[in-house]
Every structure is written in C-alpha cells, then in structure tokens.
Amino acid sequence: MLSVTGLTMRFGGLKAVDDLSFEARAGEITAVIGPNGAGKTTVFNCITGFYRPSEGGIVLTDAEGARFALDRMPGHRIASRAKVARTFQNIRLFAGMTVLENLLVAQHNVLIRASGFTLLAVLGVGRYRAAEAHGLEKARHWLDRIGLIDRADDPAGALPYGAQRRLEIARAMCIDPVLLCLDEPAAGLNPRETDALNALLLAIRADGCTLLLIEHDMGVVMRISDHIVVLDHGKKIADGTPAEVRADPAVIAAYLGEGDEDEEAA
C-alpha cells in the first residue's frame, strides 16, 4: 500500500527524519510511535504533501495497482487523486461552519465537478441537485457513525473536544480515502471516548481503508495496531507487531532510558 524508502527531511542543519524506510500494508493499522521530537509529524507532513522530502521516496499503490509518487505530487492532489486523507495534531476543523458543511467541504472535488464548475449550480440546473443530495446522504451516514446527527446544524467550533476529534476523522473519511493518516487522534480524550475511538478506527479498517496512526496513548496503539514503527531522533529503532515492539530493548531505552525533556514536538 504505502512504501516509504530512504526518507530524509532536513530543516537547515537539523535532520528531523533520517533515512527512514517502512511499509504500511493494505487493510492494516500501522502505528508510528516515538518520544516527543522523534520526527513522527514530519513523516506525516511528507506523506501528505505538506513538506517536500529532502531525499527518499514515498510511493502509494492502491487496490487497482495504480502507483502515486507522493513525494512529487502537489499537496492537494495527494488527497484528491491518491486519496490520502489526514487529520491534525491540533484539530483543524472549519470552526465557523456547521458540522454538516464541514463534511460537504470534504466532498468538494466530487461536488464541484457535478456543479459544472459552479456555473450550473448557480443557475440551478443540471445534475448538481442529485449530486448534492448524494453528498448529504454520505454526510448523514458519517454523522450517524460518529453520533453527531443531532448536532449537524451547529457550528463545528461549538462541539465538545471529543466530538471535534471524531468529526475531523469523519471529515477526512468523506474524501473516500484509501489511506487515512491520523495524527494523535486520542490526545485529550477521556477513557470512554478513547474506547469509542478504537471502535471507530477498527470499523474504518473493516471497511477496507488502510490506517496510519501517530499516537502517544500506548493503550490505543497496543490494542488496535497491526504493525508498529518506532522512531527516535528521526531514525527507525524498531518495526514489528505490538508484542515484538513492546519487548524490544531499544524501544524501552528510548522511552525510559534517555530523558528528552528538552525536546518539544514540532
């Protein structure tokens, strides 16, 4: 599905990611973990086109066998063509718009084509109506799944924190991604919300979507991941199943042995 080879990202003299290679296999949940400042979010930003890697390749192969070189695509095409969706560490909803509008904006590319690039929609003719009804149906489906159907017409910024996290995932899912990248989805959630999140992520995986996950909550990581990649100081120090990683001495050293209070996540 996703194959990262020799990925290096430099910011001036700093090597945030150093010669990283890993695979995220189709239909699995792959977790990227590591101490603060290990370069996890940088990897995500490279995969989703927010950064252009200094070196290395990122190739996505979808179910039909089409290959996309993500490291060379413009950011918005990674979402619209290669169908890679992402969420953000600090939630980035369209806070002033309603929950429903957030989900419709995510279907922008489908809808704008149906709207005859806006002209037909302004005049109120053509198949735009049907397309919009279909878009609303999809939004409704996701609102049902994340339990926010009653809040559909409220501003997204007015939702409680946990609901905003779920909405951001639903919004990302509305672009029909083949790969969903989640940057700390469990951050700030209470145990009950974390359980609901786990269930949601497993359901998304069951639908056939591949997940890539950055997470600090080891409970979440160990319970739902099929495969874990551990980073420290931009380098991969371990790669395997949850059980293997948990037993890896290098991982234990990275988490417990070396203090990294002086480092902050990017």
């Binding site: 918005h76 095409r77 002033g96 704008i112 690039f117 806006t118 009804a133 501003p155």
Partner: protein
C-alpha cells in the same frame, strides 16, 4: 466619584490637546495672506462635551452590570428577517417619492453597497484581506470609458467586458499573492491599488492622465437615449413625455439597483455551491482545505476574479453616471471606505454590508445636510463651521463608528452566519 472626575478631567485634557489646534484654530484669507483666527468657543464646547461624556460613562458604568452576552432575542431575529424585504421595497419605490437629491444620494449609496458586496466575496467569504479593491473599480471604469470613447461601444455591451477585464486583473493580482496571508497580502494589494492609479495618472497617451476622460456616453434603455432634445430615439420622445433630467437620474438609479441586486443574488447562490463553501473553508483553515484535496490556488483565484468582476461592473456604472472619470476618483481612501463598510457590516453578511453602506455613505451625507440646515436656522457660527468642514471630519467619524461597533459588536453589525445547508431541510430543496 472623585476618581471618575479625575479620569474625566484627564480625558478633557487630552481632548484639549487634540482639539485646541484642530477646532480652535482656523486659517482665513486676510489682507496679508493667510491669517490665523481663534475659535475658542467651539473648542471649549467639544472639551466640555468630552468631560461630561466621560464622566457620564464612568458613573453609569458603575451602576450597570456588564451586558450579558447572548444570542439575538426572538424579536430581534424577526425584525432582522423583515429588514431585508423592507429595505428592498423601500429601494424600489424610492424614486417616486424622493427629490433628485435623494435619488442621487441613493445611487451613490447603492454603488457602495455593490462595491461592498463585491469585496465581501474576497474578504468576507474567502478571508483574503484586500486593501486595493479600488483598482478593480478603476479598471472597470476605464474599460468602459476607453471602449466607449474610442470605439463607440454602448454601455450594455461594455458592461460584461468591463467585468471580464476587471476579473482578468483580479487573477493577475491573485497569482503573485497566492502564498501570502493576512498582513502581507494586505500590503501587496494596497500596493497594487496604488500602481493601477499611478499608471492611469501617467499613461497620458491612453488615459489622458490627470485630466481624465470626458464625454463618456450614458446608458440607453433598449436603445432609447436619455437626451434633452426629446426627438426620435429618445426616452422622452418615445413615451411622448417632456424630456427631463430626472428621468435619466431615475433610470441610472434603477440600473445600479439592478446591478447590486444581481451581485447579491449571485453571491447568495454562490455561497450555496461547493465553490462558496470552499471559500469559507479557506477563510477558516487553509491547511485543512489542502488536506481535503481542495485546490487552494484555484479557489483563491476565483474569489479574486469574481470579487474583481463586481468591482468592474460598479466601475463601469460609475463612469457612465459621472460621464467623466480621472485617477483622482480611485484613491486609496475608496478602498478603505469599502473595506470599512464590509468590516463594519459584518464579514460575510450581505445585509450587514448594505446597512453599513447606508449608514456610512448615506448617513454621513444626511448628517451634513442636517447640520447645514441647523446652521441656516440658527445662524450660529459654531454649527456653520462644523457643517462646512464635515467632509474633513469624515474619517474621524468613520474611525469612531468603527471603534464603537467593534467594541459593542466585535464581529460587525450583523454577525450571525446563515448555514449554507441544513440537515432538517434535506429532501425539500
């Protein structure tokens, strides 16, 4: 109480420092050139006013609990819903009840409403701070003026061309500023507005420079001219009426009303399309837009282009109404006025922009007329002085109104946002 008096005294002192030279001194043409004349009474009046006002504010504020922030009351919502249709009806019947002065004033207000609605697309919906909007107004005006004067084209065939040319310049401006946000974008657009004006001023062979373009033809009604000869092919001749100037004034009023309503209709429809939602999403969070596969470049450019197009329409109308344009009409102050209207009205709110334009442009003019009337009645030198100088205080009042609105209503006069789509209305529309 004592501290309140001291505070008010301090305010009065600041006012004295400000207004003693501003209001207390006047220059007059005397026998030996300019002479300075004192006007202590007027300055003292203002200082006393500030003192009392500050005192009142402090003593009353002590008694009144801070206002409870809440949503609009149901009565207010009902009134707000009735306001837009009421304004529309008023605008439609206005020429039948008003004198030429009021129709002219309303035409001016509607021009600013249209500019405000056009800029609202860029600033209010897409969140791109544009301080050079007047450039598109100028492009529209000069497009029509040059096409009409050099090639003899009519207003109605030039109107779309003026819009297209302005939109083209909108895209041209858009390209270099795509990566900029906020303050940086504002500075570049400001420079763009100035560049257009300076080019118009100096390209004498094309634009006739500071002398401007004269003899710009008036629009026709299905080919009927509004001329004073009343012969064949004129409006008055066709309808067997006495030719009067007011006919043309009223016609021009309805033209700008139609154009403004078209702008409003188009913008309201656009808001409900994917493009409109993408604009608003862009305003909320550009990074999230990119992550959802929205082409940020195209979305921004369409916002610039469509906003500029409406500015171009308004510019063409301005040229045909004035029959004369020069670069002087397209200074930065126009951009600032339109932007102030948009911000004051409430970013993104069509009704708010209309209200703000009425208050800012119409209200100020009416205030001036009212004060001159008062001065005539009273013959008081204080009022006469202020009435004559009111245009000079325009920016002061502007700033003051902005400050007051921003303090009382930080998100503009109309700050509620109507969702573009509701789940409960699903299936009905």
């Amino acid at each position: 109480m004592k501290s309140a008096v001291r505070d008010a005294g301090l305010s009065a002192l600041v006012a004295l420092g400000l207004f003693a030279p501003l209001i207390g001194l006047v220059t007059e043409n005397g026998d030996h050139g300019l002479e300075l004349r004192g006007r202590p009474l007027a300055a003292a009046a203002v200082v006393v006013l500030v003192f009392l006002g500050r005192l009142l504010m402090l003593t009353r504020a002590a008694h009144i609990a801070p206002p409870v922030v809440s949503g609009p009351s149901p009565a207010m919502v009902r009134a707000g819903r009735a306001l837009a249709p009421a304004l529309l009806v008023f605008a439609l019947v206005l020429p039948f009840g008003g004198s030429r002065y009021y129709v002219d004033l309303a035409t001016l207000v509607l021009t600013y409403i249209m500019l405000g609605w056009g800029l609202n697309v860029v600033v209010g919906l897409a969140g791109l701070l544009d301080l050079g909007y007047v450039a598109f107004y100028a492009v529209g005006a000069y497009s029509y003026a040059l096409l009409a004067v050099n090639f003899g084209l009519g207003f109605w065939s030039c109107l779309p061309l003026a819009g297209i040319l302005a939109a083209f310049w909108g895209v041209l401006l858009g390209f270099p500023v795509l990566r900029l946000r906020g303050d940086y974008l504002a500075i570049v657009t400001l420079a763009f507005g100035e560049i257009i004006r300076i080019v118009l001023n100096n390209w004498v062979s094309l634009t006739n420079g500071p002398n401007g373009i004269t003899g710009i033809p008036r629009p026709t009604l299905f080919g009927l001219r509004f001329s004073m000869d009343g012969g064949e092919g004129t409006f008055a001749g066709f309808f067997n009426m006495e030719p009067e100037t007011i006919q043309r004034v009223i016609f021009l009023y309805y033209v700008i009303l139609g154009l403004a309503l078209l702008t409003n209709w188009f913008t309201l429809r656009l808001r409900r399309t994917p493009l409109g939602r993408a604009w608003e999403a862009l305003r909320e969070d550009e990074t999230a837009c990119r992550s959802l596969g929205i082409n940020v470049t195209n979305t921004k450019l369409t916002a610039f282009a469509i906003g500029a197009m409406f500015g171009g329409f308004a510019g063409a109308f301005f040229a045909t109404r004035q029959a004369f344009i020069s670069p002087e009409s397209f200074t930065f102050i126009e951009s600032a006025t339109v932007l102030a209207i948009v911000v004051l009205g409430g970013l993104g709110s069509q009704l708010g922009v209309a209200l703000a334009a009425i208050v800012m442009v119409g209200g100020l003019e009416l205030l001036r007329a009212f004060l001159s009337f008062l001065a005539d009645q009273m013959g008081s030198p204080i009022f006469a002085g202020i009435a004559n100088e009111l245009p000079l205080y325009r920016m002061l009042i502007f700033g003051l109104a902005l400050v007051v609105v921003m303090v009382l209503r930080p998100r503009g006069m109309v700050s509620t946002r109507t969702p573009t789509v509701l789940l409960v209305a699903r299936g009905q529309g």
